[in-house]
Amino acid sequence: MTQPSLWRVFEPKWRTALQRIREERSRGGSGKLLLLVGVGTLFWLAVFRVLYVILRYFRGVEELGPLLAGKLLGLVLLSFISILVLSNVITALSSFFLAKDLDLLVSAPVDWLRIYLAKLGETLLHSSWMVALMAVPILTAYGVIYHGGPLFAPFAVLTLFPMLVVPAVAGSAVTLVLVNVFPARRTRDLLSIVALGAAGGLILLLRVIRPERLASPEGFRNLLDFIAVLRTPTSPFLPSEWATKAIMTFLRGAADPLPLLLLWTTAAALVTIGAMLHRALFASGFTKAQEGAERFVRGEWWRWTVGTLLGFLPVAKREFVLKDVKLFFRDTTQWSQLILLAVLVVVYLFNIKALPLHRGEQVGFFYVTLVSFLNLGLAGFVLAAIAARFIFPAVSLEGRHMWLLRSSPLELHTLLWSKYWVGTVPLLVLALLLTGLTNVLLQVRPFMMVVSMLTICGLTFAIAALALGFGALYPQFETENAAQIPTSFGGLVYMMATIALLGAVLRTLWTAVYAYVRAVYQGQPVVVDAWMISWFAVAAVLCAAATALPLWVGLRRMERFEF
């Protein structure tokens, strides 16, 4: 029997993608596309600019310059490859074992090699597209600074492609083995914890090592030591090192085919080994992946604790909140992200503590106030990102259950109310913790403490409302994975709206805070007069509007949902 081509096996995927594009276009999606392209280009330009400045500086340094540029590229590619292994392990689990088209593919007379190659391609595409896009401005900067010429672009593609294949094969193989050991659902749970633990550990390690100290010349006894360290390959057996070597050799105008040869032969050999492993283990793993779901749970505990705490609420609101809390804490892919959040808070506070601010009394006061004020923006951004992950998907995740909610006498504003407070309360605790502890560490004066605490409260209410409102405005009912929902177009618009709000509120408050700083600096008494209060009032109105308006728009949008 003639086997279908790989293109045919992929057909449902690319046809679905094409259809989505057509639907977007028919809905007048060209504005969306323009915005996405605009934001993407801006991001690319920013990355290019940063790399360009660094590399131009390196180029001006005799001897050390090219070594530093190579080291930097090596580090970038090494971090890419580490991210890719993790993301491939997680993506391979979905594409090889949990995807909806697997039943059809496995039951059809398609041979194992085609299934393997098609699924490997799918895994590679899903896990690597972001890294590949990120590499474009970075490599362009290298090409421009070191005059790579027109052939540099195809050479870079030729180098990067096998470097992306290697982690895809490795990740898929790890998943294959893990699924054979655990049932798939457990594996996914385990992986999210492993991935987050690894990410958290890495961040903590970076903070403990303090790389900024290594960059200072006092860290090395002499220049020769420093050069010796730079010349030593960081990881000689990793494809990232070969890719770095290939690219830097090309940019120097020398000819050394060995690194490229190593990359391609390793990728080919790994694909072969991966295929053999797939042939031996896939059938048993796929069978195991069909099994296993968590069964008995302790539901009464939640009823006694959260249920009792919320006893003052009407029954529909209470049960709705209780339901959302249970769903969150029973889904490992959701709650395990709290680990990352905890690491983030520790790193955040650690960074604030590391700031050398308290050296001179007057200058110290100015910088302390400035940092405390700017910290509002940074904390607001962190809160926005957290809200994007946890609050933005809230309405989308109800999509498949809307038959129940809409056919019951539950009022939509009750639903929205519950979603809002389930998201806002933990966000507010985090916001107060971040701002309060930062201010304590900075030893700010009471005026700034009060201003920043009130501001962060207002911002948190607004950020949560924006996340929920935009989540309702741009729902993703067909996506089951909550982590994917914020990466949609709606998520981007939400982040842009939130950043605009942060800018507007901080700009408004700055006038009042500046008056305070000037008064203290000049040794005059701080007078909270009508003028200052009016600025605070404008900021409060901005926050209140950014809270009420998105909720109102979200509610109107939800009333028009059709299922």
Partner: protein
């Protein structure tokens, strides 16, 4: 009474439901029949208040579902064709949650949950997460959830799909008892034997329009069908009798004896 007045639903230029008017009286089990894509599910979802009609109105016991939704939905139990339930809740938790949506709580709800789970043979599964349930068990759970608040009207889309014969029989008995006590059931189904045996009246919908309505005997009389079965009537009314040659459809690979 469930009353549909000139109910219409457009999806862009496609007319899914076209000016449908219908009355289902108290104490009646009403069958809503039609081929795939005829507009049955769209009609039922508009009755349940999940979809908004393009035109026309739906009322349940005199309350307009879209103008006065809370009062109308309080009386309704809706059973969809696809059993999407929160996977990370247990069966008992799901039922308690649904009861809360109808404003019910307390010991009475606990007793009602135990009673329904017992009837549908889910009692031993009550503390297990729904993600471990089979399709049929989820369907039974959804049926239980539609009954938890003792509705006056039940609107049900393909109730027999996924149920084992015992549960299907149980459901038929429940529906019959429900209407004998004054409740109203509007049920869409493809199982014409079930519709013929159970329904007091039926409507057949095709291309979004009602093409026949009445008791099965009414339909036979109206279409001079003698003692034809509901299946024969249905095929005649919906043009399904023009079936292609089976041999042509099945091809020549049917077995050793195939020519």
């Amino acid at each position: 009474m469930i009353r549909l007045e000139n109910l219409t639903k457009h999806y862009g230029s496609f007319v899914a439901v076209d000016d449908v008017s219908l009355e289902v009286s108290r104490g009646v089990l009403y069958g809503f029949l039609g081929p795939n894509g005829a507009g049955k599910t769209t009609t039922l979802r508009m009755i349940a208040g999940i979809l908004r009609p393009t035109d026309g109105r739906v009322s349940l016991g005199g309350d307009d579902v879209h103008a006065n939704p809370i009062a109308a939905k309080q009386r309704l139990g809706f059973i969809p064709d696809r059993p999407f339930v929160y996977d990370k809740l247990t069966g008992a938790e799901f039922l308690r949650f649904v009861a809360a949506l109808y404003g019910q709580e307390g010991d009475a709800v606990g007793r009602r949950i135990a009673e329904l789970l017992e009837v549908f043979e889910l009692a031993s599964w009550k503390d297990e997460l729904v993600e471990a349930y089979s399709h049929g068990m989820r369907q039974k759970l959804i049926i239980s959830s539609a009954l938890i608040h003792r509705p006056e009207y039940i609107v049900v889309d393909e109730p027999m799909v996924g149920l084992d014969p015992k549960a299907a029989r149980l459901l038929k008995d429940i529906f019959r008892q429900f209407v004998s006590r004054g409740g109203t059931v509007l049920m869409s189904t493809h199982t014409l034997e079930v519709a013929e045996a159970m329904c007091d009246r039926v409507a057949i919908i095709q291309h979004g329009k009602i093409v026949a309505e009445g008791t099965v005997d009414d339909l036979r009389r109206q279409h001079r069908a003698g003692d034809a079965s509901l299946e024969e009537l249905f095929l005649r009314l919906t043009g399904g009798a023009q079936v292609r040659e089976l041999a042509e459809v099945l091809g020549h690979g049917g077995g050793d004896g195939a020519p």
